[in-house]
Every structure is written in structure tokens, then in C-alpha cells.
Amino acid sequence: MTGAGRGASVSLSNLERSYDRVAAVAGVSLDILSGEFLTLLGPSGSGKSTTLMMIAGFETPTGGDIAIDGKSVVATPPYRRNIGMVFQNYALFPHLTAADNIGFPLKQRGVGKAEREKLVREALALMQLPDHGERYPRQLSGGQQQRVALARAIVFKPRLLLMDEPLGALDKQLRENLQLEMRRLHADLGITFIYVTHDQEEALTMSDRIAVINAGLVAQVGRPEDLYDRPGSRFVASFLGESNFLPAIVRGIEDDVVVAECEGAIIRALCPGRPATGEKVMLTTRPERIRFADGAFASTAPQNRLSVTVTEAVFAGERCRYMLQARDGTAMVLKEPSSAAIRRRAVGERTEIAWSVADTILV
């Protein structure tokens, strides 16, 4: 141990995996800190699962290195890596009871029967399944199977837990409960979690940091709020949450703010780089950060403004969702909290929208 606490640190450097010269993972470099909850988020086929399988040892990298606590594990077979893993379909052993499933990793480590039974009992209690030890996997509900798989993955006290879309097969309600449970478990155990999902909401809710994976590469790494507020690319902006994209032409730069012309209006955006004047760029902003800027808001409305026509209005319970069209045809989405006090907009209505410069990013 490197003394970095109870969780293992994982370092991926230029990790590659190709099948018949097609790269599934094309050079992933990522440092995962001890005790961190890191999520690999990406669409299916992006290489996130393959990356996880390489960390677990089920796939052999065709290039690059994986170091756990500073030591390369590429040549170590999975059964000597001492990593907990929860599979998408749980992979519970159908011929073993829940208790024997959980006891399996302990048995492989030569833990005596009495000690094993004690640890299994504790794990079942931790997962709130104290009376389910003698049941077979097929006699358990999806959520219960999920907990048994989780108990089995942590009962031998690994310092690293890998999870491959473990909540994918569950319904929304259960998924949300388990997300919170997972967070609590992470805090209690203090070990490193690496979590794979394609569900951006799940990633935002649970993670300390998110690595967005696209086409076998890390598109962006950061805290959920940083990724959401300051997406570094068009892909991240559209994959993580919903985004509006506005094509614009750079007209100048004031301090850290780019001044651009868009739909005949002047829009200001935050930008880390220094685009040249006259360059064609893409501005992005989140639908829930735009407001209608007429009526009461007209005078206090934020800086960026645009004239639009409402093309579609959908009442979706907690919020209203409007499809808008700017003058030259660019479609935009606006989300507004639903309140009986706010006037609903009708399709065909012409109005102004406004949003803050801080919520406008050049991608």
C-alpha cells in the first residue's frame, strides 16, 4: 500500500484496445484518485466498458499501461488483482444461494467457514437483506439481486470497486433509491469507485468526477458542475444534459468574454481560448437558463437577448418546455419551472428571450 487511504489509486496511461485494427479504446489517459467516485460516461460503443474491463483484467490492452497504487497490473490475471466488480446483469451464480454467492470471494481467499459465515451475515445486513441468504438468485427481485451482487463485490474488502451499468436493468424509482445508497456506501467504505454508465443524470448525481468518453478517448474530465456549466466541446455539451447551439461569428474580445454576432444580435460568451475576429464559432447555453424577457423581466433581464417565435409548447409537470425559432431558423429549447403564476406561452407567439453571459460558452 502506498498509504493513500483505504482506496486504491488508478492510473491509466495511453490505454489502447483494438479489435482487428479497429480501436475501441484509442489512448485513454486518466488518473483516478484514492477514494474517489469516478464515472466513465459515454454513449454505447464509446469504449467506456472496454476501459473498465481492462482495469478488471478481462480484456488485455493492446497498448498503454494500467497502474494500481503505482504498480502496473497489465500482466496480473484478474483473480490476483483483488478488485470488486459489479456486472450489468449482476452475474450472480444461479446454482448458489445469495449467501454462497457473497461467500464465494471469501472462499477463494481461504477464509474459514465460521469467519465466512459471519462476514456474509454482515454483508447481508448491510444490504438490508438479512433474511434472504438462503434464496437462490432467481427467487430474488432485480433490486435484491443487485444488492447481492454489490455485497459479493465488497465483502472481501477490495480497495477498488468497478461497476458496469449496474442499475441499467432497474426501473426509475428503484434506480434513484440505489443511486443514493451507492453514494452512501461509497462514503462509508472510503474505497475508490469506478462507475460506467451512459445515463448522464446518474453520472451527475453520484460522481465526484466524471470522465466523458467518446470514440475511445477522454473528451473531458471534471466535477459534474464544471462539466455541466463549462463543457469543453460540442459533444460534451450535447451529451451531458441538453444544450442549445447557436452558430455565430466572432466580432471581438473584451477581457475573457467573446463578443459574437448571432441571428443579427450581439451575444457575449465565456471562452477559454482566443478566437480570431471573423471566425465562425458555436455558442451553447442550457435550456433551463434561458428566460422569456418580456413583461416583468424586461428591464432586469440578463445581457444576452434574442427575438424568437414559439413553435411548440409542452407542459411536462414540473416544468414547461418550449421549442423556439430564432429569426434565421435556428431552433432552441427553453425550459421554465411550471408555476400557476407564470403565463404560459402560445404557439406562434413572438417574444424575446434572455440569458446570462456566464451561462454562454463557446465550444
Binding site: 483483488n82 456486472f87 452475474a91 451464480f93 444461479p94 446454482h95 464465494f104 477463494q108 459479493r152
Partner: protein
């Protein structure tokens, strides 16, 4: 009614198969008049008892041999998908060849002047081994002929095991051997049971192979039946046939009660 589509075949089977077999079997109880004496006399019939136990013993050793040789082949078939077509053809090619031809081939191989003995003599052995016309020859040839019936159900059961289970076991610290022992082997047991059942029951009724390569000293039930028919001893032959049929049915019924076996048997043809 879709069952009506099967009616012509059913009628054919009834007229040309079920009725003749039934009338043949009836001879065990009504030849020359209604009696159970043919069955009663079997209990003290030392020839029958010897032949019956010899038949069971042969079936048992053939089943054991086919299992020991067949399981690794089934595993290879499933684990090495790249070579699966080759392995499958090697298994099935003999399967499509007549039992008669294959038994003749074994005579050529195992005989006193057969390929095996010639090779051994050339290598410096003093005198040829006596293999042909022994129970060993029967067992070798029957294992060869029945091997596909063992390999295919086991491969089918292995194929149905979720591959992520072996991965999970490995990730949880099980060595490849421990994974095989604790996960793969137990989960393949329905296939093993199905293969054992098929091979054992088929071996019980084997006639051509033991008759051709097994010699006349240690004969099987089917050979005894054939002998009795030759001697026009119809009632005795019918009684023996009923015993053979009942034994096979009893074993099939017992195996079908094992969990998973019925399902594996029904799906392994696919």
C-alpha cells in the same frame, strides 16, 4: 387442427411399427398360451443374468469412457469458437457414416493382423495383442460411435452458461481451475446428465458393433435376442426384448426427473 397434419405419419407408424412390435412383444405373455412363466423363469436363468449384467457393465464403461473423452471436446467446442466448425465436423463426420462401416473399420484396426498390431510388431513387440473379439474391442468401438451423443448435449449446456459468470468468478479471486470446478462444471451438469442418459440407453441396445468386434464369449442382451430369434425361440426373444425396453424406459424416466435434464435434451438438437 394442426395435429391432423401428423396423422398420415402416425398411421404409418401404427401399422408398420407399433403393431408389429406390439404383437412381437405379446409373444412374451401369450406363447403358446397366456402365461407369465417366461418372465418368472428369467430370475433363475444364469445365462440371462450373466448377459444382462454384462450388458449393463458394457454400457456403464462405454458411458464413462465417452464422458471422460467427450467433456474436454465439448469444452473445446464452446471455448474455441474459431475451431468449432472443424471440431464439429470431426465429431459429426463419423456420425453420418454407417455403424456397419465404422465397425468394419475397427475390425481392420484392432485385428490380429490389423493396423495397431502391425505397428506394435514393427516397433519390436514380441507377439500381437488380442484386442479384437474381446469386450475391450466392443468398448473402444462403442465409445467412438456414441461420442457425439455425449459431446453435443454437454456443449449445448456449456453454451447456455452466461460467459460473464466465469469472468465474475475470476474477478472475485477464483483461479481458472477453481472457476471450472465451482462454476462451469456444476452448471454443465444438466448436459452431462443428458449425455450420460443418451449414451447409456443407446449402448444398452447396441447390436452390430458388439456382434462384429466383441467376439462370442461375452455377449450382450441384443446379441442374445438375435440368437434366440435365429433359433425361432420367439417367446424367449420377446421376453428379453421387453426387459431391455423396460430397463431403457426406467432409466429415461429417472433421468427426466433430474433438474434441467429434460430441457437440455429437448434443446440439444438445435
Amino acid at each position: 387442427m394442426p395435429l391432423l397434419l401428423a396423422a398420415p405419419l402416425l398411421l404409418f407408424m401404427l401399422v408398420f411399427y407399433a403393431l408389429p412390435v406390439l404383437s412381437m412383444l405379446m409373444r412374451s405373455v401369450n406363447d403358446p398360451n397366456w402365461t407369465l412363466s417366461h418372465y418368472a423363469s428369467l430370475t433363475g436363468d444364469t445365462v440371462f443374468l450373466k448377459v444382462f449384467s454384462n450388458t449393463l457393465y458394457t454400457s456403464l464403461t462405454v458411458t464413462a469412457g465417452a464422458l471422460l473423452l467427450g467433456y474436454p471436446v465439448a469444452l473445446a467446442l464452446v471455448r474455441a469458437p474459431r475451431y468449432a466448425p472443424v471440431i464439429l465436423i470431426l465429431i459429426l463426420l463419423p456420425f453420418w457414416t454407417s455403424v456397419l462401416v465404422r465397425s468394419y473399420a475397427w475390425m481392420v484396426l484392432l485385428g490380429r493382423h490389423g493396423l495397431i498390431n502391425e505397428a506394435l510388431l514393427a516397433a519390436g513387440m514380441g507377439q500381437p495383442l488380442r484386442i479384437l473379439n474381446t469386450p475391450l474391442a466392443t468398448q473402444i468401438a462403442m465409445v467412438h460411435i456414441l461420442l457425439p451423443y455425449m459431446v453435443l448435449p454437454i456443449a449445448n449446456a456449456l453454451r447456455q452458461i452466461d460467459p460473464s459468470l466465469a469472468r465474475a468468478a475470476s474477478g472475485l479471486g477464483a483461479t481458472p481451475w477453481a472457476t471450472f470446478r465451482q462454476i462451469t462444471l456444476p452448471l454443465s451438469m444438466p448436459g452431462v446428465a443428458a449425455g450420460v442418459l443418451l449414451v447409456f440407453v443407446l449402448a444398452l441396445g447396441f447390436y452390430i458393433t458388439p456382434a462384429m468386434v466383441g467376439g462370442t464369449r461375452e455377449i450382450t442382451l441384443s446379441m442374445l435376442i438375435a440368437q434366440q430369434v435365429d433359433q425361432l425361440n420367439w417367446a424367449y426373444a420377446a421376453t428379453l426384448s421387453v426387459v431391455l425396453l423396460a430397463t431403457a424406459l426406467a432409466i429415461i424416466a429417472a433421468f427426466y426427473r433430474l433438474p434441467g435434464v429434460g430441457h437440455t435434451l429437448r434443446t440439444s438438437a438445435r
